[in-house]
Symmetry: C2
């Protein structure tokens, strides 16, 4: 080990047009180090980067693996690297005449902002201060200000934190030194730090050093060599600091990665009126426009731009706005430097093939590049840049789809609260973010109130304890829904997401008093009509009506971006939709068919009164004959509904699920409703109540529903299938291209399917005869949503012509979680980390995923080309969509507003798969050797 280690390279120099490493060395040099090397050394860049060197992540690993000792050869390599920097700059580290100063910064593979330490101005000692004053043209104040900063940072970071000293709250050395600064400023009447004179600062430095010795029992080291090693160690130690460990845990960054340390020659933007510092982006990160966008401050250091103490000036006309239109731009302040910077940003973007976030410093009219990295951006910007860069041939489609996250795409699909207004608003309470986007309106407490207000043109928020199917009309009329109970897959959440409507559920602090027409929350009482605003993406509820920013769903850039996704993806994306409106909306979002049409939804929606009443007659029928009569009345409604939706989805398949919920869900709960029904069916109210009571179930989720209804009431299946096939026959006659897929839900045994297939076959024969055709094209398949169905998929596939995984119910039964009832414990489960996330939102790839995989493998062991999709809520959740791709599904289906997200995830899945494959091959090769 030791002999091999002797020849190992630990220190990588950069600067003077050369670099030991390059941009591909992220693992070894960290992100910052690798990019510095790339900027400094790449033949096409060779940018003016202050020279320096990087101690690799291997030093960090070695340090922790060897009881916090450095490799033997490190000292020599660092000394050699310092000599190189001295040579490039003609200054010397620790030299009294012409001293060289360094910054010491961390730099892990992945950016861990603010989690590790930085020390600037290293090398300033009582000996070298005069030399710095000399270099700055006699600017004493500048030199002592730099010294003051060094003492502050060094005593805090190196002596206290890295020394393992844990002071009491508010007693840290940095705090105590700042207290001295404030006292001094008060004493001399200085408003800002820059008002202090050289003398003031010099005195302050003396005070600082005394305080450091007094508090930390050690003098501030007056030696450049000691300072630099103290700084380096402090950075390595900070890798295992509390903050860094916590951050790594959250982000899943392995401890073994370690951090690199970047040591770089100091340049000063604060050396006077010919110096400046700035931050810029190669495109506008707010909207993606292809302009050079940035800000700068004359006579300032980088942290001043970020801190926002002074308003920065725009770098050019394109970056000029209301707040800084009176200020001189960099373009005007120094056209030459600006031109140089502009050329550099263009080169950098072309080089890194992505929008760059760059930091620069101008020391005495000379430009230095301090950092460059891929810039952060919001949703609209991410989409626009991805599309533009493909057009510019800067990147390929594969790369473009990886440049946009699902969350970024989602930003484009919903109106949101104005972030500026939101920051200032007063938050009332929080709930679960069940439907993304924002909404503002007046509080109403009942469905009727919502409809009435909506008809008057008022915007309302429907606030309920929890919602049920009878609230659906009111939910449709409201801008948003807010409930005090329920989880992410409660009724309110499901319905709202289906409509892309803003919704917050489970806001448990709210006490709803429907009768009193008011709600109480956090000591406040809000009456009906009071205005509130909801941020459904975060689950925040605000008092008052906040401004909104509208959605951009018809954004042509979005359309273009999704076309890029479509070219790449293999999975088809369908929608869950129950109406022609849903179908049209989803087509607009790019849906390639309907994956889940719920027949029962005609009994919930806006025009449900008549069909629902007829269904109720079916349900309470006292015998087969009465039921047959009622079904005959219901039949035209089903046919009409199915026909209109199929027509709206022409050219694509439509999967129609037969009646799924237990019948008692449709029985009226109000006495008025019961009386009406009793009258219409000619039975007494008592008799009606008895019949309803008989339908009551203890656990309706696992009761008499789905195919079980079809088996016991064959005529209910028969009526639905006839409606579907008649509608199809009629549309085919009009040359409409329609493809119905009849889906039988809640199957757990192949015999159930065989039983229902007989009905489908019989009806098909009869309808063909009636329409004088040989065949009406259709598929008959099943949902796989019961664990047993997944396990018995081989047997079920002998009958089924397609599978559609219902992962909502499959998750319920695999976990034994009723999604209506998880409210009681899910909060605790997530908080205590018992579950990594709510399995109804993100598919559990371990167990539910195992069942889905088994279902696919077994199903295809019987029918190799079996068509397989998913129609649970997971079909629109990115990680779940990728899983569906990986395990070989043919399509996913999700609510219309999730269709674009699913298209993106499906494309990313392909790219990620490609990226993983060569690695696999490489591994295989390695093994062979």
């Amino acid at each position: 080990m030791a002999s091999k280690a002797k020849s190992r390279k630990y220190v990588y120099s950069f600067g003077g047009g050369k670099a030991d490493g390059d941009g591909t060395d992220r693992n070894l040099l960290g992100g910052k180090g690798a990019n510095l090397a790339e900027m400094a050394g790449h033949p096409k860049l060779k940018l003016p980067v202050p020279p320096g060197f990087t101690l690799s992540t291997e030093v960090c690993t070695h340090y922790y693996a060897n009881k916090r000792k450095y490799p033997q050869e490190l000292k020599k390599q660092v000394d050699g690297a310092i000599r190189k920097v001295e040579k490039i700059l003609g200054r010397k580290f620790g030299d009294p005449k012409n001293p060289l100063l360094f910054s010491v910064r961390s730099g892990a593979r992945t950016s861990m902002p603010g989690m590790m330490e930085t020390v600037l101005n290293i090398g300033l000692t009582s000996e070298t201060i005069p030399g710095l004053i000399e270099q700055s043209g006699g600017n004493e104040a500048f030199a002592y200000d730099a010294y003051r900063r060094l003492i502050t940072m060094y005593s805090d970071v190196v002596m206290e934190k890295a020394g393992g000293i844990e002071p009491k709250e508010g007693q840290g050395i940095r705090h105590q030194l700042e207290h001295l600064l404030e006292k001094k400023k008060a004493k001399v009447g200085a408003k800002s730090d820059t008002d202090l004179s050289a003398e003031d600062l010099k005195d302050l430095c003396e005070q600082y050093k005394k305080k450091v010795k007094q508090v930390l029992k050690k003098p501030f080291p007056d030696n450049a060599e000691e300072q630099i090693w103290g700084g380096i160690s402090a950075v390595f130690i900070s890798w295992n600091g509390k903050r860094a460990i916590a951050y790594r845990d959250i982000e899943g960054i392995p401890e073994e990665w370690g951090t690199a340390v970047n040591v770089q020659a100091m340049v000063f933007g604060n050396m006077g009126q010919d110096s400046a510092t700035g931050v810029a982006f190669s495109r506008d990160p707010g909207n993606g426009a292809k302009i050079f966008y940035g800000e700068f401050l004359v006579n300032a250091q980088g942290e001043d731009v970020v801190a926002g103490i002074r308003t920065p000036a725009p770098i050019n006309k394109e970056s000029t706005g209301e707040q800084n239109k009176h200020m001189e731009s960099l373009e005007k302040w120094d056209p030459k430097v600006y031109k140089e910077l502009d050329a550099i940003q263009k080169r950098l973007e072309k080089h890194f093939r992505d929008m760059q976030d760059i930091e620069f410093t101008i020391e005495n009219r000379r430009l230095f590049m301090l950092q460059c990295r891929n810039g952060k951006r919001n949703g609209p910007a991410a989409v626009k840049m991805a599309v533009d860069m493909v057009k510019e041939r800067l990147i390929k489609g594969d790369e473009a789809v990886m440049r946009v996250t699902a969350d970024q795409l989602d930003e484009l699909l919903h109106p949101i609260l104005d972030p500026v207004a939101e920051k200032k608003a007063s938050m009332l309470t929080k709930g679960l973010p069940a439907g993304p986007g924002g909404a503002a309106g007046k509080i109403v407490f009942t469905s009727e109130q919502a409809i009435a207000a909506h008809e008057k043109g008022e915007k309302v928020i429907l606030v309920r304890e929890e919602t049920n199917p009878e609230d659906v009309e009111g939910m449709r009329a409201a801008e948003a829904i807010l409930t005090a109970r329920g989880g992410m897959t409660s009724h309110a959440a499901l319905v709202a997401r289906g409509w892309g409507k803003c919704c917050i559920v489970g806001a448990g602090e709210i006490d709803v008093d429907v009768a009193g027409g008011k709600l109480k929350v956090g000591g406040k009482t809000l009456k009906k009509g009071a205005e509130i605003s909801l941020n459904g993406t975060k689950g925040y509820v605000y008092e008052g009506s906040l401004d909104m920013i509208s959605a951009s769903e018809d954004n042509p850039t979005l359309v273009e971006f999704l076309k890029i996704c479509d070219k790449i993806k293999r999975l088809k994306v369908r929608t869950n939709g129950d109406t022609p409106e849903d179908a049209k909306k989803a087509r607009g979002f790019g849906a390639e068919g309907i994956g889940l049409f719920r027949t029962e939804h005609m009994f919930y929606g806006e025009h449900s009164a008549e069909p629902l009443f007829k269904l109720r007659k079916v349900i309470v029928a006292k015998d087969d004959k009465e039921r047959a009569k009622a079904l005959k009345e219901l039949y035209p409604h089903i046919k009409k509904d199915v026909k209109a939706t199929m027509q709206a989805m022409e050219g694509y398949p439509v999967t129609i699920r037969l009646l799924d919920p237990p019948l008692h869900e449709f029985i009226p709960t109000s006495t008025k409703g019961k009386k009406e029904l009793a009258k219409a069916t000619g039975v007494s109210l008592a008799e009606l109540e008895k019949r309803s009571e008989l339908l009551h179930e203890v656990n309706p989720m696992m009761g008499h529903r789905g195919v079980r209804l079809g088996v016991t009431f064959r005529d209910i299946t028969e009526t639905q299938v006839r409606a579907i096939l008649e509608a199809t026959a009629e549309l085919l006659k009009k040359n409409k291209k329609v493809f119905p897929e009849i889906m039988i839900p809640v199957v757990c045994h192949p015999n159930e399917l065989k039983d229902q297939y007989e009905v489908v076959k019989e009806v098909h024969k009869a309808v063909c005869k009636k329409h004088k055709v040989k065949k009406i094209p259709h598929l008959t398949g099943t949902m796989i949503e019961i664990p047993r169905a997944a396990l018995q998929a081989a047997e079920i596939a002998e009958v089924a012509e397609f599978f559609s995984f219902g992962t909502n119910d499959l998750t319920q039964m695999t976990y034994g979680f009723s999604r209506d009832d998880i409210g009681g414990f899910m909060g605790d489960y997530l908080e205590k980390g018992i579950l990594p996330n709510d399995p109804f939102q993100i598919l559990d790839q371990d167990a539910v995923g195992e069942l889905v995989k088994a279902g696919i493998e077994r199903g295809r062991s019987t029918k190799p080309k079996l068509k397989i999709g998913i129609c649970g809520e997971h079909g629109g959740e990115p990680s779940s969509v990728k899983f569906c791709h990986a395990i070989g599904m043919d399509y996913v289906s999700c609510s219309p507003y999730r269709v674009p997200i699913a298209r993106l995830a499906a494309a990313q899945a392909v790219v990620e798969e490609k990226a993983a494959q060569p690695k696999k091959k490489a591994k295989k090769k390695a093994k062979k050797k």
Copy 2:
């Protein structure tokens, strides 16, 4: 094929002290044919069997594989076999002087009683009748009666049925011939067939032949050769008759097996006063006593004994009873023949090593053996014979345990309705047989009524729409429970089975009117106090109070038999029990520990009022502090309960499941109960109702229960664990050998278990400290009852110290069946054959079994010696117990009354496993060759 087939033997002769086959040839010769060959040909038997021959099952197979054609060589082989019989008997088939007659009977591998056809007296023609008269010493009436029977059977079986003629209801040829017989009898004034004269019968035969020709358009064949081939074909054709196919489907008999055909020389027990026929058993099939038991009739044919037209006489003193004590026994009628028969039955039993059911005929004082087979027997007889035969060294223990079925054993464990009384009683209605045994008593409709009547010493039957936990006291007080709703695993069924109590559920025709104190069923109204009787083994309800036959659980023979089982079985058998009484009862039945002690049961039972009230205070506690106080009050109840039960089960492990049901199950539903609770907890009724409402769940089965309660209310777990460990510590101090196993229910993720383990560890530490001991022996494990837990068993086993499969819940979730709600469709599902049986009764080895197997394999992949058991209802169901054995569980646990059944099944599992193994080896060998 053809050349090979030429040399194949299809016909196997027997008789004259020789036989081509033997008793091992069941597959080839069928059961009857093989035993005839054995009796006729085995050197140690050589019994007087009428000679004959068997056409093998291969003929049947060939017949159906070759468009209903026989093998070429069959005719020749049959002719040869006939010649052999002719030689032995000195008669000739078709010979006018001394004709030989044959019977033709079916005989499959397994007995298919009444499913296939028989033709007797084949060979009687107008030519051979005089010869038969001659043989019978001039008995013309006998000969024409035989002829009449032949025409009837032949025209029905061969000409009509095998000819594929399907007459209208009541128009069959047999029916028409019998009509002629009745007419003739009326005309001559004959009361019975035997009153007809030879002349009458002769005339009748002529009428028969005319009718046959008229109806079937073919003459009855007057040719012996034609008759015998017609008979043989009819039997083969009946193998694929409707009745036979239906029977095969039910019993799972493969069509490929085919049937054999037995052709045997006729002997006549009806040839006069020196002839007779009888049936006998080598031991008493009613109680197993080792006596020769049987009946016979002089001048009769076998069917007369079975038909019960004449009362048969006993064969000996031991077989004499009230009904036949005046009749002459065979022993007296012909001591010589009796002695011969007695010697034969002894030889047969020794030879076949089981109780034999034999048929014999005496023709002119000469004894013939027509059939022998292992005799059917009831439960008590089966157990006694098994034990006796082991003592007699006739069989080994392995064989003994295979001689008793679970149903037979069950007969010994419950009092039953007197079968004689039951036959005469009038059935009111039917339900599902939820708790075996019988009961009689007065109807009551409420728990209170049941308790009051019970206290007065009255026997009552509790009749409810359905039961709930509040009915438990009344259920305990009643003799039996009858419900109008609910399935085999409804509350009533589970509780009743746990107590071994008679119970019928889901008797849907009953209309219960609790308020009116009456029930209506089938047009009758029964008031409170009316007497009814229940057969809980079959689900029959009778009017009136029927006589009972008491159970024989302390039967020493049963104890001996179960000891034989215990020596063989590998599985341990534990009991599900919640009280010291349960524990004692189960120890009596041989339980080796408790596999499921439900802490919540202390809140249901007889003395539950106080603990339940305290639990309710825990539940409605408004905050942690209030709950802590309430838990402190509840604690001594839990400890007392656990301690008493562990003490009663001393020497064996006791698995204690922590609180499992959702809390709202315990909230009072009556206003009175609510008011009391409100008063005790010092809150308003409205507030209490609000708190209860908050606990309401849509699907409580999958709600906030089991470990989910433990995670959210850590102190509920803590209190229970402390009670268990304190109780253990106190018992250990008294040198009691107790082994608690703490079981955490409803786990779906290893993190839940980790969370609860921390609590157990902490409490353990504290209790050890208090009692000044280092360790309190205990195991902490989990139920595997959620599909996810089975799939994640490897991860869960990293924490769990044992697994107990809760297959009730696992079945619920694997099927998506709420066992409380299957009533709506399970009836249809079983009737339509969609499910082979109720998966809550018989473990579904396909899917639920796959999960259980996976759970075991994965669990043991982490901990190879992981202790694994089952505590669902399936733990007492024989086929499920065998499955548990096969997949390597350590124990099964079931209700006390099922413990003996489980012990038997566990022993049978070992024997069946051994029996399967050599076969496997043989197969392997065969493959190697």
